[in-house]
């Protein structure tokens, strides 16, 4: 029992403290941070870091870019993977096993190898430095998991449900929207969360396709900020906090389902 308490304490220090530390420092002045003390006098606290990044810098624009890109990735990934997973789950498709294996094995490919040809594809499609270019490329990061997850969910729904709906004269879209999706809602939520967060966190693809402020995302900006000379750490902490918070808020909504979904595959066998 005592051992358990010690592990909990050390884990909290290691895993949680760093996040509290940057949250705390995002409210401190540059001078206060540079005193090299953990606790500073009351005048060392300020909202100026947030005020500055929100009003003086281009931060709001990058934030919007991130929101735009991640939302689009989420919506498209959901549409494509709902149809795809439903097809794989309900219909006889020649070479189904190979298709499934092919889609999942893409997860092991080195992204750095595909990056050059991807760059050329995006270039040829005239999508350089565009939101659509980034969205289309990021889809490959999320589609395999999304399809796997949703196919697993659809497989657990009895096909009688589909058949009954079909006899009642519903078409495919109606079946999906009124019969299947409500039952598979937890899976859909997990896929939406996963897609959003993976896109929100992506650095590699954005670093190559984004060339200007029009498409730069938070991950790109935050890494640039923290590797410049003369770093305003208070502002960096504020940017980091605002980058992290959306993912944490979404996480609290789906946490239980996410863990269930992520572990279900390994537990089934």
């Amino acid at each position: 029992m005592i051992v358990a308490y010690i592990v909990v304490f050390i884990s909290l220090c290691f895993f949680i403290l760093p996040m509290i530390w940057i949250f705390y420092c995002s409210f401190r002045t540059q001078e206060s941070i540079f005193t090299g003390k953990i606790i500073s006098a009351l005048e060392g606290f300020t909202f100026n870091n947030y005020i500055t990044i929100l009003s003086v810098t281009d931060f709001p624009r990058y934030f919007l870019n991130s929101v735009k890109i991640s939302s689009l990735v989420t919506v498209i990934s959901l549409i494509v993977s709902i149809f795809g997973a439903y097809g794989l789950s309900r219909y006889h498709i020649k070479g189904k096993k190979i298709i499934i294996l092919g889609i999942f094995s893409t997860q092991m490919f080195p992204q750095v190898l595909m990056l050059i040809p991807l760059f050329l594809v995006i270039f040829t499609l005239n999508l350089m430095d565009s939101v659509l270019g980034i969205v289309l490329t990021q889809l490959i990061l999320v589609l395999p998991f999304s399809m796997w997850m949703l196919k697993g969910y659809f497989d657990t729904i009895p096909i009688d449900l589909d058949n009954a709906a079909e006899i009642d004269g519903s078409n495919l879209m109606q079946r999906l929207i009124y019969v299947i999706l409500p039952v598979a809602e937890p899976g859909v939520m997990v896929v939406a969360f996963y897609s959003f967060v993976v896109s929100w966190s992506d650095y590699l693809i954005v670093s190559v396709i984004s060339q200007s402020q029009n498409t730069a995302t938070l991950t790109l900006i935050i890494s640039r900020l923290s590797s410049s000379l003369l770093i305003r750490w208070g502002q960096v902490c504020a940017v980091a906090t605002l980058t992290i918070v959306p993912t944490l808020i979404l996480f609290t909504f789906v946490q239980k389902r996410l863990i269930k979904g992520l572990t279900a595959g390994a537990l089934k066998e």
Binding site: P110, L113, D162, Y203, T247, I259
Partner: protein, 289 residues
């Protein structure tokens, strides 16, 4: 049901995967036999020259060694600490529910943010780690931890642990909860101690989950690019260079796309061998049981 509809449904996914995954992969392998540069459009086929160059390139071998070393160290440590945390979360002590709900936060936040947090904490003047060291009288240890050739690699390991260990813990816990309590009760009656019941009941019970987690994370760690690129860029003096970072540098900093691709192709080969060996072992395991 109409059979053709099935094909219509999966076509969008197939098209996206073909254009943005299959084609780039094959084209990447093709480019590895050329002298393509990102600066110009024309290029020519040069056979296996890139591969010859690679085999006599000391930085390639160094990066390969680092990649393998990092993957092995990281996955083993994650496994051990993941088991410890899973075991802890199984104990019924007050506040455990809260602990479980906040522990996975480090896994959710963007890697770029994680790196920023740790870079800040490792700063020699304002970093949390050094403030603590100073306050306990270890001033001679104060330094920028990612900038010191001796500690940079360990700090990269630390970043990996920070992100993924809680996920291991939660996954193992989920697996542990499927083991019937009667197993443990029976072991207790037979006089097994805590370690024995962990070794003979818990570990075999979560065997599958361990295999899945290790497989996923070997691939993830070996392929991971942003932790090292953003934290150290491969430095100081190549101490943290790994294959993905070296490939990225070759392709996008030195513009040697052909050469970068040839290293990428070798990486793909290594991963394929790993996956094939894994599948063979899996099959054998199924046979034996």
């Amino acid at each position: 049901m109409d059979k053709r509809k099935g094909y219509y449904l999966i076509i969008p996914a197939i098209i996206i995967m073909c254009i943005f995954t299959l084609y780039p992969l094959i084209d990447g392998i093709r480019v590895s036999f050329t002298d393509k540069s990102m600066l110009k459009t024309e290029y020519s086929y040069i056979g296996i020259d890139n591969y010859k160059q690679m085999f006599s390139d000391p930085v390639f071998w160094l990066s390969l060694r680092h990649s393998i070393k990092l993957t092995i160290i990281v996955v083993i440590l994650q496994l051990i600490f993941g088991l410890i945390i899973a075991w802890t979360m199984k104990q019924e002590i007050p506040g455990m529910q809260i602990f479980k709900s906040i522990i996975m936060t480090s896994w959710v936040i963007p890697v770029a943010a994680t790196v920023t947090i740790f870079k800040f904490m490792a700063q020699s003047d304002v970093g949390f780690i050094n403030i603590i060291l100073k306050s306990i009288g270890l001033e001679n240890l104060v330094k920028y931890w990612f900038g010191d050739p001796k500690t940079a690699f360990s700090f990269i390991v630390l970043l990996h642990l920070w992100r993924n260990v809680p996920f291991y813990g939660i996954a193992f816990l989920a697996a542990m909860q499927t083991i019937p309590a009667s197993f443990y009760e029976a072991a207790e009656i037979d006089g097994a101690n805590a370690f024995q019941s962990f070794w003979y009941i818990t570990l075999p019970g979560i065997r599958n989950m361990i295999i899945v987690m290790v497989t996923i994370h070997v691939l993830w760690t070996f392929n991971n690019f942003d932790f090292i690129y953003l934290a150290t860029g491969g430095g100081p003096i190549n101490k943290t260079d790994v294959l993905p970072v070296y490939i990225y540098r070759q392709s996008w900093v030195n513009y040697a796309a052909g050469y970068g691709s040839s290293i990428g192709t070798i990486m793909l080969l290594i991963l394929s061998v790993y996956l094939i060996v894994y599948l063979i072992i899996q099959e054998r395991g199924e046979y034996l049981r």
